[in-house]
């Protein structure tokens, strides 16, 4: 192997160093604490005058970050995503809102 590994030394004395492997002690004494917790909601909205359709249709099921973290994608991929939300995940997006949503996605995350 190569240029710099000539003095390759296999480490033999490092086993276990700084590496904690905890041992589980669960059964028999296992006690469960009931939980009552709050989860963050994520109330961010999409910006812009053309954002009404996406804000009104998409944020019931997921926060905006899911969309804002997407890469730039071709319009046909965005069309397929919106259609998947409607057909497979039953998002009640009115036909007349589909184009506005795809237009918005293509404007902020379009690659073509």
């Amino acid at each position: 192997m190569s240029r710099f590994l000539a003095p390759l030394v296999l480490a033999t004395i490092i086993v276990g160093v700084g590496f904690s492997v905890s041992t589980a002690a669960a059964p028999a004494s296992m006690h469960f604490n009931s939980l009552s917790l709050d989860l963050p909601f994520g109330d961010r909205m999409f910006d812009g005058p053309d954002a009404d359709a996406i804000n009104n249709n998409c944020l019931a099921c997921h926060s905006a970050g899911m969309v804002l973290n997407q890469p730039k994608l071709p319009r046909k991929v965005w069309e397929a995503e919106v259609e998947k939300m409607r057909a497979a995940y039953k998002a009640p997006v009115a036909e007349e809102d589909v184009k506005a949503i795809v237009d918005y996605l293509t404007r902020i995350k379009g690659s073509d």
């Binding site: 192997m1 190569s2 240029r3 710099f4 590994l5 000539a6 003095p7 390759l8 030394v9 296999l10 480490a11 033999t12 490092i14 086993v15 276990g16 590496f19 904690s20 492997v21 905890s22 041992t23 589980a24 002690a25 669960a26 059964p27 028999a28 296992m30 469960f32 604490n33 009931s34 939980l35 009552s36 917790l37 709050d38 989860l39 963050p40 909601f41 994520g42 109330d43 009104n56 944020l59 019931a60 099921c61 997921h62 926060s63 970050g65 899911m66 973290n69 997407q70 890469p71 730039k72 994608l73 991929v77 995503e81 497979a88 995940y89 039953k90 998002a91 009640p92």
Partner: protein
């Protein structure tokens, strides 16, 4: 879904039908007090083409610092430095992935029940105490999202834009799934076993999240129901109080908040088996961008992977001095045979030392020492599993961004 709301948990959000959807959306806005995550700390996942910046959040209960991929329903990635700290991922750093936003935020341990029904001799309704009283089973196993590393694919694909941290490893304690099925008594003619949890879809007509295993797989003596991870009860967002553990298989099968097991007398064709989480039926699930017409199958067993964890690309190190390189590897659905490094683009490979073995489904640490010459270096790391499967040099692609396991590399300079 048809399961009635039983005592033992409360789901915060509303069920929305298409009819009352718009009105309820307004109400939902009033029901929730928005909580802002302190977003001072950002991390860059280095995704190809950019856009990999993410906040680091501590806003989720029972969780430490996590990379925020999505707030609702939560997608939380484990920061990569956690993998350098040990083979077991601490519960508060274990990655999180939910499909539907109606996640119970109150779960009562005393009244919670796990139901076993369908093609069985006796329907069961088991409490946590009932499960703890059964023979204990324990296994260390990696839980990895089907789409771990999706954000690294080129061309990019839609979906959760994970870096490499949609994976974690824990010691799971609970009962064998086989023992629970035997207690109910599986009837002749049973084919598959379907699992679902307390989480529910927001839109009532949407498909409830359910996953299935073949009966043989469910009874293999390794598939299990965990009530503890790393010796403690599960965090809420990791599936408290019960999670299905399917060693060697992708996380989509590891149903969280498991409360329903249904034995079926046929294969399961529900949406989450037949339409979602399907992969091209090709080696490495590979197809060409734009390709259509290929056969698909439900995603299943994992592939080997390995990573350097103690050095990041771009690091500057001392030349002609010993440099420790270490990382983690896992074999997929079997153990690790070896982890090798290459500094010449894969022409030649040198072995590393494998450290303590926590079982064939666990992360395993590898380590070695090198002495870099002055200049720029690239190191490749490659795992070969016990079945002889080797990570590929080539990056394979599919439109869902599933099953990435290409050989990873890091670049650094020595002076």
């Amino acid at each position: 879904m048809s399961t009635p709301q039983a005592p033992g948990w409360q789901t915060p959000a509303l069920h929305l039908s298409r009819r009352n959807f718009v009105a309820a959306m307004g109400a939902a806005g009033l029901l929730f007090l928005p909580k802002h995550a302190a977003a001072d700390e950002m991390i860059d996942l280095g995704l190809p083409g950019g856009g990999g910046e993410r906040p680091v959040t501590t806003a989720f209960p029972q969780k430490g610092k996590m990379i925020l991929q999505r707030t609702r329903p939560p997608l939380l990635e484990t920061p990569f430095e956690v993998f350098d700290q040990g083979v077991l991922t601490p519960n508060d750093r274990f990655f999180v992935r939910w499909h539907w936003a109606n996640i119970p935020t109150q779960v009562d341990a005393g009244s919670f029940r796990l139901n076993i029904r369908g093609h069985v001799n006796a329907t069961l309704s088991l409490s946590l105490a009932d499960l703890v009283a059964m023979p204990t089973f324990e296994i260390v196993a990696v839980n990895q999202c089907s789409g771990n590393s999706r954000g690294l694919y080129v061309p990019r694909v839609p979906g959760a834009q994970w870096g490499n941290g949609a994976m974690s490893n824990a010691r799971w304690t609970g009962v064998r799934l086989k023992d629970v099925l035997d207690r109910a008594g599986v009837k002749a003619g049973a084919i598959s076993v379907r699992f679902s949890g307390l989480d529910e879809q927001v839109i009532e007509e949407a498909p409830h999240f359910m996953k299935s295993l073949s009966l043989d797989h469910a009874r293999d003596g390794e598939a299990m129901i965990a009530y503890a991870m790393n010796g403690e009860q599960l965090p809420l967002v990791n599936g408290f109080p019960l999670r299905l553990i399917v060693p060697g298989w992708y996380s989509t099968y590891w149903v969280k908040m498991l409360n329903d097991i249904e034995v079926l007398d046929g294969p399961d064709d529900n949406f989450w088996m037949a339409k979602a989480y399907v992969i091209p039926d090709t080696p490495f699930a590979a197809v060409k961008p734009g390709e259509t017409g290929y056969k698909t199958v439900p995603i299943n067993r994992m592939l080997p992977r390995s990573f350097v964890t103690n050095l990041k690309s771009g690091a500057r190190v001392k030349a002609n001095a010993p440099l420790t390189l270490r990382g983690i590897a896992f074999g997929g659905d079997t153990g690790i045979n070896k982890v090798d490094l290459s500094s010449d683009g894969g022409a030649t490979w040198s072995p590393t030392q494998l450290e303590s073995d926590e079982g064939k489904y666990s992360f395993r640490r590898w380590e070695t020492s090198i002495s870099p010459t002055p200049g720029d270096h690239q190191i490749l790391v490659r795992c070969t599993n016990s079945n002889g499967e080797v990570q590929p040099m080539q990056t394979y692609w599919n439109p869902s961004g599933f099953m990435r396991n290409v050989i990873e590399s890091i670049s650094f300079s020595a002076a």
